[in-house]
Each structure stands twice: as C-alpha cells, then as structure tokens.
C-alpha cells in the first residue's frame, strides 16, 4: 500500500464516481476518461506496461471518444433533457452497495497475503511471441469477432432511409 497507489486509487475512484453521477452526459464521459487514465496508471504501477498503454490507446482514445460521438448524435439540443436517474435509483444503489460489501468481505477474509514477487521483465517481443504461438487461436477468434462487430455495427447504425426510396 504505497502512497502512489493510494493517490492513483483516489483519482480513479473520483473519476469513475463522477462519471456515474454527473448530469451532463459529456461531462460523464470526460470524467470517465480520467478514470480510465487512472486505471492505466495502476497498470503501469503493476509492471504491466503494455496493457496500460493499450488501455490508454483503446479506452481513452477510442471508447470514450466513441461514447462522446454517440452522445452527440443522440441528443437534440432543443428537446427537453430527461431526468438523470431512473425511477428506481435507490434500489440500484443499494444493490451496488450490497455487491461491494460482499466482494469486500470476500477479499478481506480471504487472507491473500502474498508478497510481491520480483519485478517481471516483460518485453513486447515476448508478448508478440506468445500471441503467435500459445495464443494464436484466441488471436484469430478475436480477429473474427472484431470483423463481425465491425460489420454488425455498420449495418445496425446505417441509415436505412435511403433504401426505401
């Protein structure tokens, strides 16, 4: 429990809490970006540099921007903004709290007191090698999945009005 960890943890939690709590959706996404950045920093702290940088590239650089685009495309400036929270917000909060309580209890009573082993020296080449050798099948499936998702997203989001003309 180093100080660095605590600071990063607070930053991350604050960002994500804001992401879930703010009224304006764009503000939410911006806060989310902060949260993602915090998670990336924690990855770096855990000596998972590749993952951390991948996190920044993918989540911060793609997902968050995608969410912003979606918000902008689905919001009408003139329309009345709906309420922020759903009608059952209290139930949801209670459930979330309950989940956290259960997980925390499980963690705290598990007695996981292993000392951190030595710092692993992971090179990108190692990651690349293992991707191509041991994890080639998941890699290929991932390629298929991404292709399907790409095509599916295009088809779903496509404007179908031109076809009927």
């Amino acid at each position: 429990m180093t100080v660095a960890f605590l600071i990063l943890a607070v930053l991350t939690v604050a960002g994500t809490a804001a992401a879930m709590g703010l009224r304006n959706a764009v503000h939410c996404v911006l806060a989310l970006t902060v949260g993602f950045a915090g998670v990336a920093a924690i990855y770096l702290q855990l000596d998972a540099q590749f993952v951390g940088l991948t996190q920044i590239m993918v989540y911060v650089g793609a997902v968050a921007i995608l969410a912003v685009f979606a918000i902008m495309m689905t919001q009408r400036p003139t329309a009345e903004k709906p309420a922020t929270y759903s009608s059952f917000w209290l139930t949801g909060s209670v459930i979330a709290a309950g989940v956290f309580a259960v997980l925390a209890r499980a963690i705290l009573t598990s007695g996981a007191t292993t000392a951190a082993p030595a710092e692993p020296q992971i090179s990108v080449q190692q990651i690349g090698d293992s991707l191509m050798h041991q994890y080639v099948l998941p890699l290929e499936i991932m390629g298929l999945l991404l292709t399907a998702a790409l095509i599916g997203a295009v088809v779903i989001a496509m404007d179908h009005r031109e076809e009927s003309k």
């Binding site: 459930i95 989940v99 259960v102």
Partner: protein
C-alpha cells in the same frame, strides 16, 4: 361295367354343369346355351343306357356310398344306387328330356330369354336325375327342393305377367306344405333307424334289419312306425304329384311355357312323387309277420290316388283351355299311378308312370305345336279344323290321345289295365276299382271332346280374330309367316312328336301279361313269354271290360261333340246345356281355390297380422328402448364432456395462460430492471456461499 356304378353321379352332374355355364353366358349366346343343355342331356342319356344295360345283367341293388361330414361320432353318408327302378327312370327322364330340349329350341325361338330358359331346363334335369339316383333320403330331399325351385323359376319364366308370377308362388308354397310332412317323416326315420341311407350293405333304412325295427314299434292310432313315416313322406309326394288336396298348383302351372309343362308337369317332376313312393316302397309295405292285409300307409296312398283320379277327370270335362284339360288329366293320371302303387306294388305304378311320361309329353308338345300354329291361341273354342293344316301334329296327337284313353293295344291300355286288374283284386275294397273305371270313362270322354274341338270341323280362329284385336294384330304381323290360317310347326318341333308317338304306341308291349318283362325287371325276377297269362282268372274279363269302357267313352264324346260340327266359338258346350249348374261347378274345379282362399289364406293373413303387431310393438319396442337408453348415455356423456371435462380443461388452460400472464409481468421490458435483479441475485448467492462455507 361297374365303372358306371361308380360314375353314376355324372348323369346329373353334366346337366348341372351345363346350367352353371349357361348362367354365366350373355342372353345373346343362344346357340352355346342350347348346345350345352342338349349336349349334356345327350351324354347323360348315353350314360343312362349304359346303366340300364348294366342292370340287365345284374338286377341286384348296387350302391356307392361315401361319407360327407361328421358330427359327434356319427357320419352323414350320401351316395347313389343303381337298381332296375333307377335305371328305368334314368332312361325315361333323359330320353324324354332330350326330346323336349330339342323341341324347345323351336318353340322358344322367338323368346328373348332363350338362354335363361335353357339354363333353368338344364338345372331342372340335373336335379331330377339327382333325385333318381340318390341313395340317401337326405340327398333325395335336397335334389327334391332344387327340383321345386326350378319348377318355380320355370312356371314364372315370364315373370312380368302377374298370373305367371302368382302361379309360380302358388306352386312353390303348396309343394312346401307337403314337404313339411316329408321333413317330419325324414327326421322321424332318422331318429328311429339311425341312418337315412337306403341301401348300405344291410345297414340301410330300407333293408330288413331297419324295417324289422320300424315295424315292431307302434305309435298313434295303432299305426306301425313304418306306416306313420310312410304317410308323412307321402305328404311330400302328394304335394309334388298334385294329389287332392294339394293339387291346386298344377292347373295354374300351365302359365309356364309349354315345353316346361310337358317336361315338368307331365312327364318328370310330378312323377317324382310317384317315384319317391316307389323308392321307399319297402318302408310303406313293411308289415308285421303274418299280416295279410296291406299296410295303412298303402291304403292311404290308394284312397288318395283313387279320389284324385276321379276328381281330376271330372273337372277336365268342363275346361276350355287346351293346356288346362291336359293339366287336370295329369292330376287324374297321377292319381292312377298312386293307386297302382297302393294296390299293385312298384312295378304296376311305375309301368303307368313310364308310359304316361311318353304319351303325356307327346300330348303337351302337341298342344304346344297347336298353340304355336294358332299364334298363341289357347282356347279350344277358337280352334278347329286343324287336321287339315297340321297333319303331323294331328296324327301324333291322335296317337297320344288314344294311349291316354287306354285304347286297346296302345301303351296306356296295358299300363292302365294293370292298375285296374290289381285294384280289382285288392283285398280291402273294390271301390277304388270302380272309381278308376269311371275315371277311365271320363278320360275317354273329355279327350274325345278336346279332339273334336281342336282338330275337327272348320277353323274358328279367323272368325274370332275380329273380336280380339290382339289376335288380329298378330295375324297381320308381316313377320309371322304371312298366313291367315294355322300352319304346321317346323321340323324341330314335329320330329320329337313323331318319336314320342312311336313310343306311345309301342312301349306298352314290354309290359303285357303275356310278356311281363317290365314288371319282372323291376322285381328282379326272370321273365317268360307265355300266352297262358291271358287265361289266368280275372285277367281277361278286366281287359275286356276296360276296353268296353273306353269305347263307351269315345262314343259318348262323339255323340255330344262329333255329330254336329261346332259352329262358333261362342256356342255353349253341349254337355253344359244339359246340366248347367253341375257344369259350372266342374268348370270352376269345385271352387277349391275359393275355399282355400276363404279359410287357409285368411287364417294365414290373420296370423301374419298378429306377427306384424308383435314385431312392431314388442320387438320393435325393445329395440327402441335399448336405443333410447344408448341415446341417454350418449347425451349424458356429451353433457359431461361439454361442461365438466371441457370446463376443467378450459380452466386448466386459463390457469396456464393466467400463470403465463403473471409471469409476463416480470418482463418489464426495461433492461435496468433485469440488471438489478441480476445484481440482487449475485449478492444473495455470494452471501449464501460464504455463509454456507462458514457453517
């Protein structure tokens, strides 16, 4: 030659086979049908000749029996028998049948149901031959019934005519009444003797051991069992042979075509009754040892025969239809045959049967020829003068008529004389003799009357045709030979007439007292030729007196009908003018039919009404009750099904839908709700696992 005994069954089988094949032919195939019938009859005739030749050598009874089926530990046996009686009947039936078949091809030429006619004729021939050769009373009865059936079919051949259909029905029902007695007698015989086979190497019911047993028992009225059975079987014979009181069907049976009348109701079928009595004669004549008088059965037969002989002859005097005269004459002659059987035994009765077959068939075929020549006219008052136009028919008919009357030296003379001779010496009474003599007188009288009406004088046909439009139309029909007066029949019809006439003249000589070949043949004894027989006491006086009776009858006929020619068809009958009321009574056959109608028929109708009521209300009521009950059950079931089962089922379905509706409420359609529930479930699960792990 014993193969003939084994194959005797072929004789009836061939005509029946011909009938079966003819039944499948189309109505247009006349030549095949006629050829089959005539061909099979010809082959049967040849086989009958073989059988006859065989019996000349061995006159003993020869049988061929076989087992039919088993019931319990008894076997039902059938078979055929060949003895002189069988052989003589076979030859007669096949020969006369063959001639009549040939005659029919000419007579029925214009009829469109030619094929059906020959099919029925062949079936009749087969059945009749079956009756003759049968060695078992049961087989005889079966063939007897088929003979009755074919008689019905042939009488009602022109079924579209209501009189013909009614006559056929009357014939069948009347003979059926007789057959009831036959059946009871048969059952009783089987019960007493244990077998219905006639000759079975000593075990048959006509053989000595069975007869001794039958004679030993006595039954009602002091009759022996054999006599009682004999009388019952005689009921069947009386029906079939037209004895009084079951004679009523025979005159009406003239509605059938003339070949049918000739074959069935003159020569063969009506003779079947006489043949039956001849066949079971040992049973009828079985008397306890030491008894001299004839048995009761034979007495009954004699009296019934005598009454019938006189009865038929009196009615024939007053008839106008040419075939009816001959029909009542047949009734009378059958009475003679029965009388002959009763007083003189098998040979006496059978001799007259054989000679009668020939000359009666001749007379009927001649009448058919006359009817054909007169274009369908059957009333003798409208005929006349035919001796000029139909020479062959006239001569043949004369021969037959003289034979029937018993003119000396003709066949009828010898056979009738044998009967009268035996009646004269009958120990019980002389009355049958006198009745027979009177009947002979009347026979000569009415036959002479018929001859004068039909053949003598001038032709009254054209004169009466002016009154009858149908007849006039017939005459003017260009298809009908274009003649305005009667014409001779074609050779196919006159040929058999000539042949039968020859037999009518000559056949008697096989049975004269000088050379009683026929009688000896039937009795199985050797014969000798001897003039001495004429000098035996009683023979010559009877012969002379019967000749005088015949001459007297012919003279009376000439006196009334021959002296003055008959002027017109409407002239009253000469005898009728003398005694109009008696004549009227005779003309209506003593009103026997009316009496039957008022009594028996009304009783039958009443009884059928009772049965109908019973059927309608009692049986029908029971059936209706059951059906209403079933309906009630069905209705209850329906109610149950609709309101209870269906309701239950519907209720079940509703609860399922309701449950589904309830469950569907959980589908809010809102994703966050689902997520919340998943979250809850997760929490709950983890808590459960942790708590469970702890505990």
């Amino acid at each position: 030659m014993t193969w003939i005994v084994k194959n005797l069954w072929l004789i009836p089988a061939l005509p029946i086979l011909a009938a079966g094949i003819s039944a499948l032919l189309k109505q247009r195939s006349r030549i095949p049908a006629a050829s089959l019938a005539i061909g099979s009859m010809a082959v049967s005739f040849l086989l009958s000749l073989c059988a006859f030749a065989h019996t000349l050598g061995n006159p003993d009874v020869q049988t061929f029996n076989f087992r039919w089926f088993q019931f319990g530990d008894q076997w039902l046996q059938l078979g055929w028998v060949l003895n002189p009686l069988t052989a003589v009947m076979l030859v007669m039936v096949t020969f006369v049948g063959l001639l009549i078949f040939i005659y029919s091809t000419g007579y029925m030429e214009h009829d469109e149901n030619f094929t059906r006619f020959f099919c029925f004729l062949a079936l009749f021939a087969g059945a009749m031959l079956g009756v003759i050769i049968s060695n078992s009373l049961l087989l005889l009865f079966m063939c007897w019934e088929i003979v009755g059936l074919t008689s019905y079919l042939l009488i009602g051949f022109w079924y579209a005519k209501p009189e013909a259909a009614a006559a056929a029905k009357k014939a069948f029902i009347t003979t059926r009444i007789g057959d009831l007695g036959f059946l009871i007698g048969m059952a009783w015989l089987y019960h007493q003797a244990g077998t219905l086979v006639f000759y079975d190497a000593g075990a048959g019911c006509l053989e000595s051991s069975a007869l001794a047993a039958l004679v030993a028992h006595t039954t009602v009225l002091g009759l022996t069992v054999s006599s009682a059975i004999g009388i019952l079987i005689f009921c069947g014979a009386a029906g079939k042979s037209g004895q009084v009181p079951l004679h009523v069907w025979l005159p009406d049976a003239m509605e059938g075509p003339t070949p049918v009348s000739a074959l069935i109701h003159a020569a063969t079928m009506v003779a079947a009754g006489v043949f039956l009595i001849a066949r079971i004669y040992p049973l009828m004549s079985a008397a306890p040892d030491g008894s001299l008088s004839p048995t009761v059965a034979l007495q009954v037969v004699t009296w019934v025969g005598a009454i019938t002989a006189l009865f038929g002859a009196t009615i024939a005097v007053a008839q106008y239809d040419i075939k009816r005269i001959l029909a009542y004459s047949t009734v009378s002659q059958l009475g003679y045959m029965m009388m002959g059987l009763g007083v003189g035994g098998v040979s006496v009765g059978m001799f007259h049967l054989i000679t009668h077959a020939f000359f009666k068939a001749l007379l009927f075929l001649g009448a058919g020829s006359v009817i054909h020549g007169c274009s369908g006219e059957q009333d003798i008052r409208r005929m006349g003068g035919l001796h000029k136009y139909m020479r062959v028919t006239f001569f043949a008919y004369t021969a037959g008529m003289l034979a029937l009357c018993g003119f000396p030296l003709f066949s009828g003379f010898w056979s009738k004389d044998a009967i009268l001779d035996a009646a004269h010496t009958w120990s019980v009474s002389q009355l049958p003799y006198y009745m027979g003599a009177l009947g002979a007188l009347l026979t000569a009288f009415y036959m002479m009357r018929q001859m004068y009406y039909v053949f003598a004088g001038s032709n009254r046909l054209a004169a009466s045709s002016h009154d009858d439009p149908q007849l006039a139309a017939h005459f003017e029909d260009p298809a009908h030979h274009g003649a305005h007066h009667p014409h001779e029949s074609p050779a196919v019809m006159t040929g058999p007439l000539v042949i039968l006439a020859a037999f009518a003249v000559l056949l008697g000589f096989v049975g004269t007292p000088a050379w009683p070949w026929f009688q000896s043949f039937l009795n199985g004894k050797p014969t000798e030729f001897g003039w001495a027989a004429f000098t035996e006491p009683g023979v010559l006086p009877v012969m002379v007196s019967s000749s005088i009776i015949v001459f007297l009858g012919l003279a009376l006929g000439w006196y009334f009908y021959g002296r003055k020619p008959i002027e017109s068809a409407d002239a009253p009958d000469a005898v009728g003018q003398l005694q109009p009321s008696l004549y009227h009574l005779l003309g209506h056959a003593y009103y026997v039919d009316a009496i039957y109608g008022a009594t028996l028929i009304r009783l039958n109708t009443f009884w059928s009404h009772v049965c109908d009521w019973f059927d309608r209300w009692i049986w029908n009521g029971a059936v209706q009750t059951v059906s209403y009950f079933v309906l009630g059950v069905a209705w209850t079931d329906n109610f149950f099904d609709s309101y209870i089962v269906n309701a239950g089922f519907d209720g079940g379905c509703k609860s399922v839908s309701g449950g589904g509706w309830l469950l569907s409420l959980m589908q809010g359609g809102r994703i966050q709700t689902y997520l919340r529930i998943i979250g809850c479930a997760l929490v709950a699960l983890v808590i459960f696992l942790l708590w469970g792990a702890k505990a």
